[in-house]
Amino acid sequence: MKYVDEFRDPEKARSLLKEINRLVTEIDTCKDRPIYIMEVCGGHTHSIFRYGIEGMLPKEIELIHGPGCPVCVLPMGRVDDCVALAEMPGTIFTTFGDAMRVPGSKKSLLQAKADGADVRMVYSPLDALQLAKENPDKEVVFFGLGFETTMPSTAFTVLQAKKDGINNFSLFCNHITIIPTVKAILDSPDMQIDGFLGPGHVSMVIGTRPYEFIASHYKRPLVVAGFEPLDVLHSVWMVLMQIVEGRAEIENQYARIVPDEGNDEALAAVAEVFELREFFEWRGLGSIDHSGVRMRKEFVAFDAERKFTVPDIKIADPKSCQCGEVLKGVIKPFDCKVFGKACTPETPLGALMVSSEGACAAYYQYGDPARMRELEKA
């Protein structure tokens, strides 16, 4: 955790904080309960904890750490499917490093590798395609996961594989899409969210227009935010300004990276390769309609799900895990019975403990911001 003095521009940070403190006194809701602001993106969660931003904000503001870490929301059954694919003879299973330690019902990919499966970490799906070229006698499967930020990369890779006629390459598609997810959160009865910090890099692909319904239908402000600590403070201030002025709009604090219209080239590739699934299963959140994509039938030959048989069994989250409640902001990570005991970053039970973008790992590493705030005042 850092202090304001260590920020790149402490003056600006201080004046933003002063403004934020003033604004909360003008919001009536704050007299009864805190204002809840959800950051949808795991990158923001990481930044918020690393810089101790929550501890700097007045107690009238509570940040809810949303489901925006793709590794954290991966259900156990999908990890089991990965392990099954990886353990097929003659297979090289490739994945981003983040997914290696996510627990399945029996083992993680890392354990599968220790047991002899050929699992390799790659930096890019292009590297998996290259491996397929170099190993024509092996089947190379790439584990595609992530929101709209990573979708174009796998779409372009599949298009390239098709063009180059590389038939021993396939994608195990677990991409998820942000809009239905935010909608499910807004429709959930145990949720009270007053405003959102919108994901920066997802928006770089999809633009800001797909969020319009959040303002028009749900009357909640959303500010697309950058990752720098000043960006986050600035965006919180923008959300509060909207609330004070009784507005609900989609604003773009990160316009230096995010064009309102998104990235046409990326969106075209995504649309060519993927189509919406009827529903997709999330860890902790259950099934959400249209929240995932699969490959179009023109790409069957590159679709690991159709090319091979995956077990596709639904595995309930372990009873002791309360990841779902944490994801929805109903409980704080340390309220989970196994937090810091059976579940630590070294031995994660739930996925929120695996990645630095997961709320539980962040709390474990940086502590509880509310308590920090108390300590600071004492």
Binding site: S47, M121, P125, G146, P152, P199, V205, I257, A269, E357
Partner: protein, 93 residues
């Protein structure tokens, strides 16, 4: 994984596949430029561009100042090292 990392386009390595060498903090690797190339900005015009690289794809053009700022934040988050390591080790056993 979701944050990406800034780099500078050095040369085009495979024009038909829109691939270019990008320098990320001294590490050079091949990156796909398909998302930043269009009629208004051709492949050759990309040389010298600062870009945000995301799992091997340049996702947007950024200015040099933004690149430096982003790199600084990534270093502080401990993610710059992770990304660069992943780039370096990619595909190895």
């Amino acid at each position: 994984m979701c944050l990406g990392i800034p780099g500078q386009v050095v040369e085009i390595s495979d024009a038909t596949r829109k691939l270019a060498m990008v320098d990320v903090s001294g590490i050079k690797r091949e990156v796909n430029l398909a998302c930043i190339v269009n009629e208004d900005h051709t492949l050759d015009e990309c040389i010298g561009d600062w870009v945000l690289v995301h799992v091997g794809f340049a996702m947007s053009r950024i200015d040099e100042k933004e690149a430096a700022l982003t790199m600084e934040v990534l270093r502080e988050l401990g993610e710059a090292q992770e990304e660069i390591e992943a780039m370096r080790l990619s595909g190895q056993r």
